[in-house]
């Protein structure tokens, strides 16, 4: 019979080993996915990709220009719509309404909105911005993306503003400054990096969002920068091309996947770096 100590040690070793394998599994899948995207997307990264529009069926050449421009336009518009709202709402939670019930409710529901299924947001925007206006449009796509960005910006803004020590606020108030001056001069100055972080993270998040665009912006095979028309965009092109049986479409889908992955990784790493530096400063 095994001694009690030996058994305890064995069990301990077994679980430590399992824990390490869990990490190994996680990391290897991350590496596997990244390497796949890199290997499959790299060969088709060329100037052609940025110069030509998406090919129709049977065409052998083509790029992703229209999709990239469309995505960029909708993403920027979504950020422009969402960041003021997120910033101001975050301000309310961190300053005026810090201890109010409403703030608690908003904080809670914001967390829920942050992780609720993005395809539902697509359905919602379809109901109020596509169906009543007679068709899919870039505007609808941008609104859907904006709804996804708001909770991200709100959360980072609130966190960063709350890092500002209350003594600074009191010093400002003691000098007779109204609250909004205090918020702008003290809160926003300190939280600037946080807000930018939130915006970058929000941009990263929506760069790959496909589900909410499927029935808002829809997609467009041709060059179009008219926001009131169906708008070409990268994620939906990737989805359609990946699902197709044309080989050159699939190749383009991989190139698009690489572009999106690089954008997302770059933005998240920058955002991380910014948070780290601004936390150190405060």
């Amino acid at each position: 019979m095994m001694s009690r100590y030996r058994r305890r040690r064995l069990v301990n070793h077994l679980f430590l080993w399992l824990s390490m394998s869990a990490v190994a599994v996680g990391l290897s899948f991350l590496a596997w996915i990244l390497v796949t995207v890199l290997l499959k997307g790299w060969p088709s990264l060329s100037m052609e990709l940025f110069r030509a529009d998406t090919p129709g069926p049977g065409m052998t050449t083509g790029g992703l220009r229209n999709a990239m421009v469309g995505s960029l336009m909708m993403n920027l518009l979504a950020i422009a719509l969402a960041s003021p709202v997120g910033l101001l709402a975050g301000t309310y939670l961190a300053e005026y309404g810090r201890y109010t019930r409403l703030a608690d409710g908003v904080r809670f529901m914001n967390d829920v909105l942050l992780s609720s299924p993005s395809i539902i947001i697509g359905l919602f925007v379809y109901e109020f911005a596509v169906a009543p206006f007679g068709g899919f449009s870039g505007w609808a796509g941008a609104i859907a993306l904006a709804i996804i960005v708001v909770p991200v910006v709100l959360q980072t803004t609130e966190t960063m503003i709350r890092l500002v020590p209350d003594t600074l606020r009191e010093a400002c108030a003691a000098m007779g400054a109204p609250r909004y001056v205090m918020i702008i001069k003290i809160g926003y100055r300190a939280a600037m990096n946080g807000v930018i972080t939130g915006i970058l993270l929000g941009f990263a998040r929506i760069s790959g969002e496909t589900a909410p665009l499927l029935f808002t912006a829809l997609g467009n095979q041709y060059w179009s920068i008219d926001l009131s028309q169906p708008m070409p965009n990268l994620p939906v092109v990737i989805f359609n091309f990946a699902n197709s049986s044309f080989e050159n479409w699939q190749t383009l889908a991989w190139a698009g996947a690489l572009v999106i992955t690089m954008v997302v990784l770059l933005l998240s790493i920058t955002a991380r770096f910014l948070t780290a530096t601004s936390k150190r400063e405060l």
Binding site: N12, L16, L27, L113, T210
Partner: protein
């Protein structure tokens, strides 16, 4: 306080309100409106889904949930197959993803040297940041073929022979299907769950752990007897948060689940989920009843997801409040 004092105080309050800078009042109102907008959006989502699905709900009633038929041509719609697929894939994701996340969180908080835990957290964040569609492409073109060729036949010949659970592993190995979708979901929710678990494990007072180590407990014993009982609420919260993600995950699942209205005990068989049906069919739905049925599917998904997410957040909030004292 006598009445005169109260009146004086009232006067004072009024005076201070009146003297408050008008810009400040406007600014406060604007920020308040923006904060309230978040609540309004959630309310509007619920309302618009209910309105959008009214036609179907009026026609089929609650039967919509338990009816297994999806026939756009004759206008018969039942949500059973997608609901079944959503639940099955999410359960697979949880069953695989939770132990995996627990192992990762345990490594980061208890085992890894400090220099290693930061980069590991970054790696987890990266895994969380990869868009769903990328997981889907990798799943469809790389993972599913390998899985169908090598792993599924193996499962079929081993677990498939067992009585009872053997039913889950029968049928032709096609690569795509419910099991593949569930596995990819597991991979996708692991970073979220393990991030929450790391955060939650940090709440455990150091003194408690150190005293356990001092009386000779092993790392594993500290985990199971001290850390887990202390953080039960948070762990369940983290798992439910992951579940909420898994339920609504769309693109990756749509690409690898095989998209068939099918309820089969075999996990190898193709299926669909609420979100994959929406992704595939919504833009093409041409009549009102069809659109309305898809909206009803969306309503079902939204309600399930919100209930799960609200429960998750409540648990995490309670833990945080407990930790704060």
């Amino acid at each position: 306080m006598n009445t005169r004092e109260a009146a004086a105080l009232g006067e004072l309050k009024k005076a201070s309100v009146a003297s408050r800078n008008i810009t400040d009042q406007v600014f406060e109102l604007v920020t308040l409106a923006c904060a309230a907008l978040v609540l309004a959006v959630l309310g509007a989502i619920l309302l618009s889904l209910i309105m959008g699905s009214w036609q179907t709900l009026a026609k089929h009633g609650v039967g919509f949930l338990f009816h297994n038929e999806w026939d756009p041509i004759n206008g018969n719609f039942g949500a059973l197959a997608p609901i079944y697929g959503t639940l099955v894939t999410s359960v697979i994701a949880i069953v695989i993803g939770v132990p995996l996340s627990f192992g990762i969180a345990m490594f980061i908080t208890e085992l890894s040297p400090r220099i290693l835990s930061r980069p590991l957290m970054v790696a987890i964040e990266l895994l969380a940041g990869i868009p769903s569609i990328i997981y889907g492409m990798w799943g469809l073109f790389v993972f599913a073929p390998l899985f169908g060729q090598h792993v599924q036949p193996l499962l079929h010949d081993t677990l498939g022979r067992l009585p009872g659970i053997g039913l889950l592993f029968q049928g032709p190995p096609m690569g795509v299907g419910m099991l593949t979708a569930g596995l990819i979901l597991a991979l996708m929710i692991t970073p979220f769950i393990s991030a929450v678990m790391c955060e939650v494990f940090d709440v455990v007072p150091k003194a408690l752990k150190e005293s356990a180590y001092a009386v000779g407990a092993t790392t594993w014993e500290v985990m199971v007897r001290i850390v887990v009982p202390q953080t039960k609420l948070g762990l369940v919260g983290g798992i439910m948060l992951g579940l909420g993600r898994a339920l609504g995950e769309t693109m990756a699942v749509t690409l690898v689940i095989g998209n068939a209205f099918l309820i089969s005990p075999s996990l190898f068989s193709p299926g669909n989920t609420i979100s994959s049906v929406l992704a595939n069919e919504f833009a093409e739905a041409d009549d009102d009843l069809y659109t309305s049925s898809l909206m009803a599917l969306g309503l079902v998904l939204f309600l399930i997801a919100v209930v799960v997410l609200v429960a998750a957040r409540l648990l995490l909030w309670r833990l945080r409040r407990k930790a704060a004292g």
